[in-house]
Structure formats: structure tokens, C-alpha cells
Amino acid sequence: MISYRLSDFILFSDKAYYRQFELYNHAIWPLHLIALVFSLVIIYALWKKPAWAGRVIAALLILSWIWVAWAFLFERFYHIHIVANWYAFGFILQAGLISWYGVIKNQFSLFVQSKFRINIGLVLLFIALIIYPLIAFVTGRSWLQFEMFSLAPDPTVLATFAILFLCKVSAVLYVVPIIWLLISGITLVVM
């Protein structure tokens, strides 16, 4: 006799999932322009490494994680996924951790020297900021379903990962992003 499979825990279709992004993007326009400014400021801060870089990067990440938690996970995704409120809680927790390690302890101003980590970080950042928003269009979905850093969970987590790779930060900051990448990866594969 059959038993539960992972896909049995995903009670929405891929079509319904991606339509949430389309409706969300429509609802929050023109916040995308602010998100774009966030991306440009982070790129500038990582490139030029000014004295304010660490705390500003942390602050922008905090705003992004809180916004995604509230506006997307709780206000939208929760409608079709009954555990999305827990996801939102996880995102708020991560915002709290970034506040402590990023703003108070200023760990995002401690940049790594390892070429390997820098390369990994830059590739991840490129994927998060440039590639991810194009995926909807490239895969044949409506371009309006694009997912953007600061506004959608996956590119926000990916960009955070990139920044963690580029900075000497506490390992605690990796926990929530790793859990999210597992959850999101499994969801995208089985839905």
C-alpha cells in the first residue's frame, strides 16, 4: 500500500505557487525600485568597503528579511501554505540574528581574504541579484512572476549566503539560510 511521499506535504500546485509572485509583484510595485537601490548599495559597499559598509549591509539585510517575512510569507504565501507563518517566524529570527551580529557586533565589516570564498560569494551574489529575477522569463513563465532580492525569499536568502561567504561572521548566521534553502529546494523539486 502507498504511503506518504514528500510531495504529499505540498498542498499547492506549481502554477498556484508562481502565480503568488505575479500577484505579489503587481501589488507591491514600485517597491522594486527600492529593492534595486538596496542591491546597488550592497554591491557598492562590498566593492569599495567604506567604513559604513558592514552596518549598512546588515541594515539592508534586516529590512529585506523582515519585509519578506511579513509581505510575502505571511501576507501571501500563508494563504496557500499552512506552515508559511512558521517560515515567516524563521525569517524574523534571522533578522534578529543579523541585528545582533551585523549591527551591534559589526561583523559584516570583517571581509574575508580567501580567494576561494570571495569567488563563491561573488558567484552566489551574481545568481541572487541578476540570474534569479530572470528565471521566470527563461523558463517560459510570465516574466511578471520574477523573484527579486529584498522582495522574494529565495534570492534574499541566496544573496545573504553570498554576503556571509564574503564576511567573517558567526556560524549561527548560516543556520536559517541553510534550513530555508533545504525547504525551498525540496518544495521546488516536488511540487
Binding site: 510531495s7 498542498l11 498556484a16
Partner: protein, 313 residues
């Protein structure tokens, strides 16, 4: 993956030359009967009320949030379901936004009085059961549920007390309990033996026939109506049958497609009252509802159906 499944089904439908499927959306059940044989209803043993053997599930398929296009699609699917003679729609608080979507469609179609509403109570806090049922009723936009079931045996002792009390007060008409995926059958059997249930719901299909051993005979013996969920193993069964020719003798039982073949197998079991396939596609609901018409396979034919499918899967 589901897009691929839909494409396969669509292609398969196109290959079906008889065109019976398409016709059902255009005609009323009464007229359909003239062209496609009798419309098959079965009795609920506890009341002798008759319901069509094909219902409509809503797990996953109707969970569309507040998407206006998708909500209208739900309404369109339900419109074709009702047009083909369908009555019973099943949902649960576990299915995300499916309940409000059903309510939207019922209201839009002015069918709040006509539907046979089957929902579930699903909370580990028995004290919250009544409030959850009332919230579900508001989502459905109906006066009262016909059938309320305990979902997945969750806190069933307490919830059944609540449901029997509601039935006694006339707030619901039938009481049931559900499971799926072949889980907790021993416990379900015990409940069926000891509780005065009107309905029971579990998974059954042409490949997963464990329930034929004990649960289906017990339902018959105890006079319990049986709803079958996951008739296509959430589409996997149909995916596996794509490319396999339907036997020519399937036409003798009114089946022109694999989904009809699989549904006819299920609802032809003497203990089964109805099956509840779920879909987002109008063409699928039309196709499924054809299984409500024509002859039902007898015991020998059912064996032949199993043998044929098991040759390939």
C-alpha cells in the same frame, strides 16, 4: 511534472475518437443519460439518500489563494461538475485556501443550496473543533454542512462526540471519519466497528486494494457509506498508464479513457459509494464525470481490469 501530466492527458484525450467526453459539458445530466446510458447513483446506507458515484476533491487543486483568475477557474470546473450531474464536493481546513475557493465558486454559480457539502474537522485541540467547523461553513458560504468528517483520525474520540451532537441537533446530516495513503487502517477498523458512522473515507485504486480485505466488507456490514480519495494516486497512476492502450473491451463498460477506466473500477465495488478525483482542468472533470454513466463492471470484469493493468504496472 504536472504540466507534463496534463499534456499527456490532453494528448490521450485527443486520441479518443468517440467524443463522449466533450459532449457532457454541453448538456444537462438528464440529456446525457439518453446518449450515454444511465446516470449512476448509489445510496447512503444510513438514509437511503442517493448521490452520484463521482464527486469532486479539492486537495491541492483548489488551493489558489486570492488569485482572481484561478478562483474563476475553480468556479468553471465546478460549473462543469454540476452541469454533468455532480453533487458531492469534499474539502478540509488542511487544504489551504480550498474552502474559500469553493465558497466563491458556489456563490458565483448560485449552487450553495444544491451542493452535497463534505468537509472535515482537523485540529488537535478538540475544544477548537466547533469554531473550526463554523469557520469552514462561512468559507463555503452555505447554511450547514451535509457531511462533516474527522480528518485523518485526528483527536477522533473528542471530535466524533462533537459531530454526533451536531447531528442530533440537526446542524449536520451525516458524520464520517477519514484517512488516506493506507494509513492507520487497524485503528479505523476499530472505529468502524464501535461508532455509528454514516461515512468513512480512505484511499483505494486498482493497484492499492488492501481495503478490499477488511474495510470495504466491514463498511457494507455496518451500513457505512464509503468515499474513496486519491483514486489516481494524485495523478501518478495515469502518468504510468500513458502510452498503454486501453483494452478494446473497456468500451463495453463505457470507458474511453484511462481515468474513466480507473474510476469505474473503484465505484463498481459494491461497498463504495463514491470517488472524489480532484482537478483544476475542465476537460478532466468532464472526462471524470463520464464514469457516472453507463454500465458498471461486474465481478469478472473487475478481475479482468486488474489483470490488464497489472500486466503493465
Amino acid at each position: 511534472m504536472k504540466e507534463q501530466h496534463n499534456k499527456h492527458r490532453r494528448r490521450f484525450l485527443q486520441l479518443m475518437a468517440l467524443g463522449l467526453t466533450g459532449s457532457i459539458s454541453l448538456i444537462r445530466p438528464g440529456l446525457s443519460q439518453a446518449g450515454m446510458g444511465r446516470f449512476i447513483m448509489k445510496s447512503i446506507p444510513s438514509s437511503n439518500e442517493q448521490i452520484p458515484v463521482i464527486g469532486l476533491g479539492s486537495s491541492r487543486t483548489f488551493n489558489v489563494g486570492d488569485d482572481p483568475l484561478a478562483l474563476d477557474n475553480v468556479a468553471n470546473v465546478m460549473h462543469h461538475f454540476f452541469n454533468a450531474g455532480g453533487k458531492l464536493i469534499d474539502s478540509s481546513p488542511m487544504y489551504g485556501s480550498s474552502q474559500p475557493a469553493i465558497g466563491y465558486a458556489l456563490n458565483k454559480l448560485a449552487k450553495t443550496k444544491d451542493v452535497f457539502s463534505a468537509d472535515k474537522v482537523w485540529t488537535w485541540e478538540p475544544g477548537n473543533g466547533l469554531a473550526q467547523i463554523e469557520q469552514s461553513r462561512k468559507y463555503w458560504q452555505i447554511d450547514a454542512f451535509d457531511l462533516m468528517q474527522v480528518h485523518n483520525l485526528v483527536s477522533w474520540q473528542e471530535h466524533l462526540k462533537t459531530l454526533f451532537s451536531m447531528k442530533q441537533k440537526g446542524k449536520i446530516r451525516y458524520v464520517g471519519i477519514t484517512t488516506s495513503h493506507g494509513r492507520r487502517h487497524d485503528e479505523l477498523e476499530e472505529i468502524m466497528k464501535t461508532q455509528r458512522l454514516d461515512f468513512v473515507q480512505f484511499s483505494y485504486n486498482i493497484l492499492d486494494r488492501e481495503v478490499e480485505e477488511r474495510l470495504l466488507p466491514l463498511a457494507k456490514q455496518r451500513g457505512i457509506a464509503v468515499i474513496i480519495n486519491r483514486p489516481f494516486q494524485r495523478g501518478d497512476l495515469i502518468d504510468e498508464l500513458v502510452g498503454i492502450p486501453l483494452p478494446t473491451w473497456a468500451k463495453t463498460i463505457g470507458c474511453n479513457t484511462w481515468p474513466q477506466f480507473l474510476l469505474k473500477f473503484i465505484v463498481s465495488h459494491p461497498s463504495v459509494t463514491c470517488a472524489i478525483p480532484a482537478t483544476t482542468q475542465v476537460e478532466h472533470v468532464n472526462e471524470n464525470m463520464v464514469a457516472c454513466f453507463g454500465p458498471l463492471p461486474n465481478h469478472e470484469m473487475r478481475k479482468r481490469m486488474i489483470d490488464y493493468v497489472e500486466k503493465f504496472i
